[in-house]
């Protein structure tokens, strides 16, 4: 009972300290509002304004039709270039795509002779190269089919059609993905830095010693930091999801937000305890900052919020099953994008809570040791 009271009152002190620390407060507000909006509007994962050049050696109606079919926002206006400029232009990175339409392309096609075009792709532009190549393929196929049927070459209709739909996000809007993933990354980032800074701040000001000579245990001090900083982030996540993501960015959220927040709360035990741990290792704020970069970046980069685990080497994907961040991202995607219910995600939430509990225990042990020897 007294322990709970201590944890509660110490936590209110944490909240007051946080609300007065304008730099951290600003960081939290920024990370859950402007940063989310910026990420939602970034075009880094889609085809936008791709630079394309066309070598038109045919000069036919069809070749002109194809040239005119590359439209914004996917492509910039195609630039006509000569065949000998292809290699230098690609070397200098001036264009990502160069489409070469050979002489007699149209007449070969109408004469039912093999008609081939060539697309050179700068494969060092990873996102655009892959997506763009399939767009170019589709555009060329559509234009050719349209031209052929108009020219009365009497095609047989395609007997089998593929109707491919994208579930949950029919237009494949990147903003839906990046905005929510931005929130998840902000959760990890801020939970670590807030909890870590809370420890280092008390150490630097000497208030930690002061607490330790009072009838307060290190366990209570640590738990107060966990709940107070966790609560700050949980509230920010809830607001960001409803006001920024749903309200401002109009991203539909399929699943239950309370369920997601419950899962986030479980994850926050893990993330804040990492912060506590780093706070006990670092001697000063700059050291905390350096350590933080080395912990946060791998957790976030390897969480599946950027690249799915399937694209990583199998040994790494297996290893990452031990990372609560991976499970956090997985159940967040399931709930928020695919509307999954409790029955679909409870195992992951249990795993997160389990690993989280281990880390809280480890952080508290370390915290007690570190404070005893300071």
């Amino acid at each position: 009972m007294t322990a709970l009271a201590n944890i509660f009152w110490l936590g209110t002190k944490e909240l007051r300290s946080f609300l007065r620390d304008y730099v951290l407060l600003g960081l939290v507000v920024y990370s859950f509002s402007l940063a989310i909006i910026a990420q939602a509007q970034s075009s880094s994962q889609e085809l936008r304004n791709a630079a394309i050049a066309i070598v038109d050696e045919d000069g036919s109606t069809l070749s002109r039709r194809i040239t005119q079919a590359f439209l914004p926002p996917y492509f910039k206006a195609p630039v006509p270039i000569a065949e000998r400029d292809i290699v230098p232009a690609l070397n200098a990175g001036r264009y990502t795509f160069v489409l070469d339409i050979p002489p007699r392309f149209e007449s070969d096609l109408l004469g039912r002779r093999p008609a081939r075009l060539q697309l050179d792709v700068d494969a060092t532009a990873m996102v655009q190269a892959g997506l763009g190549a399939s767009y170019v393929q589709q555009i060329v196929a559509d234009e050719v089919a349209g031209f052929v049927s108009r020219a009365g070459a009497a095609p047989t209709p395609t007997p089998v059609e593929l109707i491919a739909r994208i579930a949950f996000n029919p237009n494949a809007e990147t903003g839906w993905f990046t905005s929510v993933m931005g929130i998840l990354n902000s959760v990890t980032m801020l939970a670590i830095i807030l909890a870590g800074a809370a420890v280092v701040r008390e150490r630097e000001r000497g208030t930690l010693e002061h607490l330790l000579v009072m009838p307060v245990t290190p366990f209570e001090i640590a738990m107060a930091k966990v709940w107070a900083n966790g609560l700050v982030i949980l509230v920010a996540v809830g607001l960001s999801l409803t006001l920024v993501v749903r309200g401002l960015l109009h991203v539909p959220i399929s699943g239950s937000i309370p369920l997601f927040l419950a899962g986030t709360a479980a994850y926050l035990f893990f993330a804040t305890s990492i912060g506590l741990f780093l706070g006990t290792v670092a001697r000063s704020m700059p050291q905390l900052g350096l350590l933080y970069l080395l912990i946060y970046l791998p957790l976030a980069m390897l969480s599946g919020s950027n690249t799915p685990l399937e694209s990583m080497p199998p040994w790494l994907a297996t290893l990452l099953q031990a990372s609560p961040t991976v499970h956090f991202v997985a159940f967040a995607q399931a709930i928020l994008y695919r509307g999954a219910g409790f029955e679909a995600v409870w195992t992951r939430i249990v795993v997160v809570s389990g690993i989280g509990a281990l880390f809280v225990a480890a952080a508290i042990l370390r915290f007690r040791k570190a404070t005893a020897l300071s």
Partner: protein, 911 residues
Amino acid sequence: MEPQDLAVARVERLSHRYGRTVALGDVTLAIPGGRLVGLIGPDGVGKSTLLAILAGARRVQAGRVRVLDGDITDARHRAAVCPQIAYMPQGLGRNLYSSLSVRENIDVFGRLFGQERPERDARIAELLAGTGLAPFADRPAGKLSGGMRQKLGLCCSLIHDPDLLILDEPTTGVDPLSRRQFWELIGRIRDRRRAMSVLVATAYMQEAERFDWLVAMNDGRVVATGSPDSLRRRNRAASVEAAFAAMLPPVARPFSQGPADPAPAPAGGRPIITARGLTRRFGDFTAVDRVSFEIMPGEIFGFVGSNGCGKTTTMKVLTGLLPPSEGEALLFGKPVAAGGIEARRRVGYMSQSFSLYGELTVRQNLALHARLFHLPADVRRARVAECIAQFDLARHVDQRAEDLPLGIRQRLALAVAVVHAPELLILDEPTSGVDPRARDRFWELLLDLARRQGVTIFVSTHFMGEAERCDRLALMDSGRVLAIDTPDGLVRSCGAATLEDAFVTHLEKAAASGAGPAPVEAAGDPPRETRQARISAWFSLRRLLACTVREALELARDRIRLAFAVLGSTFLMLVFGFGISTDVNSVAFAALDHDRSHESRAYLEGLRGSRYFVEKAPLSSFGDLERRLARGDIAAAIEIPPGFGRDLARGRPTAVAGWVDGARPFFAQTIRGYLSGVHRLYLSDPRRHSTQAAPYPQAQLDIRFKYNQDFDSIFAMVPAQIALQLALIPAIMMALAVVREKELGSITNLYVTPLTRLEFLLGKQLPYIALAMVNFAFMFLLAQVVFRVPLKGSAAALILGTLIYVTATTAYGMLISTFARTQIAALFGTAILTVLPATMFAGMLVPVSALTGMGRVLGRLFPMSYYLPVSLGTFTKGLGLADLAGSLAILAAFIPILTGAALLMMPRQES
């Protein structure tokens, strides 16, 4: 004309303010040369500001200041006279480098003043001998005692034979013997160089008597000047201290219960604290060495000694914050550790830093502590009210602790420590930094607590005046207790006149027994024939290299920073290399085959045979499909309608439905592309056509993925990662290196030595460029060995480009450091200002050719935009020096621009 008659400095109508606080208000003063001049007055009256301005470290805001016959606001005059001035800022060794040894520290200063090695060595030997530091030449400055640090600071100041020596509170917090030795040392130096002017600020009024000439300051103004004798006479006072007090306006004293009963503490009872043979070691350093004493109920027991003599450590052991290495510590008759929570309820503790929550108000601070001691609600309210009244805090209850003046904050800290009415109060240097009047008041409160409320008080201090007020004292030095007795008893047993003399006697006795500081000897004249003649004021390679050497030494001794600098980028590249991939492989798919015919199986065969797809257990119903997509079991599903085979055979149009998980749009689009590809392949399959009509005209599009035939993202990602990491870590390290000096205070050396900003910045940059190249080598190896990305193009172009690039990125960090005030701001500022343009505008994820508008402009302004073509070009595109000449030239242009901007933004003086 005697040199003494010339004013060494003249100040006219000088004013200085920090925000709204006035530090100096309209000061006019002429300081005579060739004398020992003292600045006296309590803390926070503007002494330090005045000295920093005279030293040229701080910018003049308003007024005229002439030092050594020239205007100090004139940069040329400052450059010309700064080799003749030496300045030792406040805070022991604030301008020293704590990880460097004694010798290395002095050496750095010698280099900054352009001395050559033989001259430096000679001077260092002489100074070390003269100050008694010779036996400690190899000890890091951070591990010196207060007295030794102060001597080291003096050595660093004297290495270039200044004409004007400015010392800001050089003796604060130093034990009386070291203090005495320090004044003897100053005396000897002045004997040797009669023309040298020495300007010293001090908060110890007892020291005021030894100056030739005094400037008494209060509240940003000069209240009197003249010799100690004339000050005493003018105010008809027995001492300068009394004369000073007489000159101050009388203060209102709302709190006054009159002096508490000075009757000695009731003796007897069981001791509250017992220490027996208490020892505490940190590594091979013994902080507390076999300390034994007892504290009886109701007495005020004092610990007296210099900074770093073990007072705080002993107190921490007694409060249970530190376990003792040896010996026994009893609190209320029980071992400290065993007493646990119960014992803590009976103890109040106030640490040196006051340990208040600055963001909480006075009332909140009191209430929080009362709650943590579990006072019942009514008792709590009563105690908080009592404390507010007793410590005279009523006017401040709703102010935040951080906004309170020091003296009031100190009272609040005491109130917080006693809010639970403890039996024992442990106070660790409670009066440090507080002015004498606030100190008197504080002691009245302590006496009141002890005499009226029977609280046992254990207090540490380095002020002799405070020590005299204790019932009993322990004199401490180097972790040992030299003597314990009443103040009178100590004075009498040594046959000394004052407590300070008694302490000195004990210190000397301890020194004689071997462990103390070495005796100080007089030293000969240093070689001083060639000074300044060869030093260029504008640029000197020697000064630049002095910065390089120092930075490298410091970095080598900071493990976390060094590890981050050497291995950080390699580690992050490994993480990012695996963590960012745009490859979509092994897409989990499942089929919902309503038809189950030969034809439907033939269609699915296409997917099963593709290297992009991995099949999972078939789906039973559409509900199953939805569920498994939602759970993330599968990323794609194919639904084949009933009668698919039959329709196909009859040539009737039919459709297959593909479902793709849209949670990750980029991957969804790619998977949709794969499905279409497999579908097209199925359509053009000749086996299928045997049963079909002849093919209609179709165009074949041949896609050639240049530079990367397998279209494997690692070949693009690894060169991009090298570019990113070389932008990030070197910039962060460089920014930290500069801002660290701002935060620690050693930046003062830039302001007051001949070191120029260019030398300072370039000198610090060199080690980080070298480290970045080492990092590059590691990352290159990683690319070859782990990621197997071969270098196809010119190695020379890559290495040259990298060298130019890291010079530019460190210069970028340098620029950021000019407006970051704290290290943590420099760290996060640099990270954000690097990662954002690097990932968004420099071509890493979005090709530069696809950027428009603002993004394009920002990208153009960021060096990585020009290094990425070099890195990608040499690794993946197989390009050579000639192909990349343009990028390299632009990259090189960043160096002078960024460095120039940093130089312009960097202040020459503190504002």
